[in-house]
Subunit: 258 residues, 3 copies
């Protein structure tokens, strides 16, 4: 028996429109035995930073052979391209708008440009369907499209550091209103160098202790911890940090070491 | 190996309730090997026009043998009926409230009335499950229910035309706030007859050029194009047309030809 | 051919985050042939009463062998546990925070505590994935974890009754704004004892007739009926009862018998 091809989606199509329906229909027409996993269709329109953040956290959990479709800001240019590449036995398909460079940086694996007939109505559905069929039927991956020399590179705001300080920012507010920053554990520990720290944000008293779990402090108290993705997160135990602390995406946070 | 039966859903059940869960459970109990595709559950309550618009755009993309369930405004009458019919090797199931006539008009294929035991709790789940099991197991389609002489017909607002003008209206705002009208390419080209045109809406300067892609104009500029469904659409390049132009469902648009 | 393992989800993870993606990926990695059914991810954060209400209405519709994951308020305590049990050939997995006691009360079936390695990032994904793999591969259910003597018990507000009256409350507002109460048919009929009744709520005239269907009264009129789950519900025919009547969760309703 053939296993179903797993295909995940990260898009900004929302839940009210017919675009995802058309895409799924086209894929099932090309390759019937497909198992769709909708990661999210609620990426903010055009927000490739948020899309890459979700993809980065998710793709590793999936089994080898999974295809990840990231479809955000497809119409970024009149010379738009769709690309496919393979990393750690997983496949990635999406527009060449820099979204994947936010995860893989300069280390992008060999990348192929998918053919698109822009004369067709809503042609991206056929681009995706054909590429999935190619992979799912075990064809030679290198023949999925023409090799692409150079993919679009994008960079995101990185934390600014010196010997005594990290200046970072909030990059994601999750469903529970936890505030996730762009400071990861590796950077934090390296600059910290076993010293004490004080995490400042807005005009609140600094957080001076690293928690392991949300329930390490009393209900309603503010804490910080490294989340499952290894990013520094500011949270309120059993509460909604973003509203309570008025802490939003792009707000600055500062960690002093002493 | 038997292929999974593909079943799509277009409903107004939303995402917070247990109704869809009951329906999917009942279907899986009747026919275990089913692959659900949720097109949308966010149709406005009772809005069969919006539901038919989504279905019309989507069904053609799916492979032969797909079953499309449209479940909107089920409780339209004490004499409600559920119906099933087949068109282009695809199956359609839903209430007989005119929803399908908005797509197929007077050309409805032979239609069958599904049996319903209204004494059962939430009986529609059993109606759907039984009909799907009938189709999925390859039984004679004509025995799915009693032939129905006449289905409920509904009509929607059509554009008004004369030799110099089309008066239409906005029928859908999509996720990107593009404004989709009830004027299709065929009608437009027929009345246009190779003349120049000016598309008026609200108090804005008219659009006098037809674009092929969103990026044909500068960022922030207004444009019109025929979308993937062949409908005339008013959009703003990289922007949210509905908010920016204050253009909403049912608003009138006027195309003059000269 | 092996049937796909059906796994349903009732969670408060929402639709914007990567948590569900990680969980589904982990499950597919452990057991590839899985068919996910998302009942809802829109439970209010920490609201185990709402989650149990949805589960209670849904689980019976699913075929034998289904696994129901209820993942709400997982981080309820530093001594949190995850549990699994079997009821009517269906499997239930979730945190030991009382959520299942709201359905099964003191009659909880034998329950097992799942092993968790809290040192792993987002460890619940592995807890769920391992338990599902155990069940899906037909292993002896009793070896899924250590037997648990006592599960957390929670109680909800029950209606108050005397010979002439039931005092209940609204426990759920559905997608159509129907108001569902905590009074079920059995209790109602027992206290009623074939007498007439008057259902009071807010300052409106009482409802004195039990309807069978929404269309038993004129459009816009208020009615009450027992819904598909056997709960007394206040609705407005073709209208939104909660807004129109200003009737919300936890509001009191009173039934007098005479």
């Amino acid at each position: 028996m053939n296993e179903a091809q797993i295909v995940t989606f990260i898009t900004d199509f929302g839940s009210r429109d017919y675009y995802m329906g058309m895409i799924k229909g086209a894929i099932l027409t090309q390759h019937r035995n497909t198992n769709f996993v909708d990661i999210t269709h609620d990426i903010k329109s055009f927000d490739i930073v948020q899309a890459s953040f979700i993809l980065k956290n998710v793709y590793n959990s999936f089994p080898a052979g999974t295809i990840h479709i990231v479809s955000v800001n497809n119409y970024y240019s009149s010379k738009r391209k769709f690309i496919a590449f393979k990393h750690n036995e997983q496949y990635f398909i999406g527009p060449d708008n820099g979204i994947f460079s936010l995860i893989f940086g300069k280390k992008m694996p060999p990348t192929y440009q998918l053919e698109e007939n822009q004369e067709t109505a809503f042609s991206i559905k056929d681009v995706y369907a054909k590429a999935i069929q190619h992979i799912a039927t075990g064809q030679d991956f290198e023949t999925i499209g023409a090799p692409l020399e150079k993919v679009v590179q994008r960079i995101t705001l990185q934390p600014v550091i010196n010997r005594f300080q990290i200046m970072g920012s909030v990059i994601h507010i999750d469903q529970y209103q936890n505030c996730i920053t762009n400071i990861n554990r590796e950077l934090f520990e390296k600059v910290r160098d076993d010293r004490r720290f004080a995490l400042f944000f807005k005009r609140f008293n600094p957080i001076i202790r690293l928690s392991k779990n949300y329930y390490d402090v009393s209900v309603g108290e503010t804490l910080c911890l490294f989340n499952s993705a290894g990013q520094l997160e500011i949270a309120v135990s059993m509460g909604k940090a973003s509203s309570l602390l008025n802490l939003n995406i792009d707000d600055t946070i500062q960690v002093d070491f002493m």
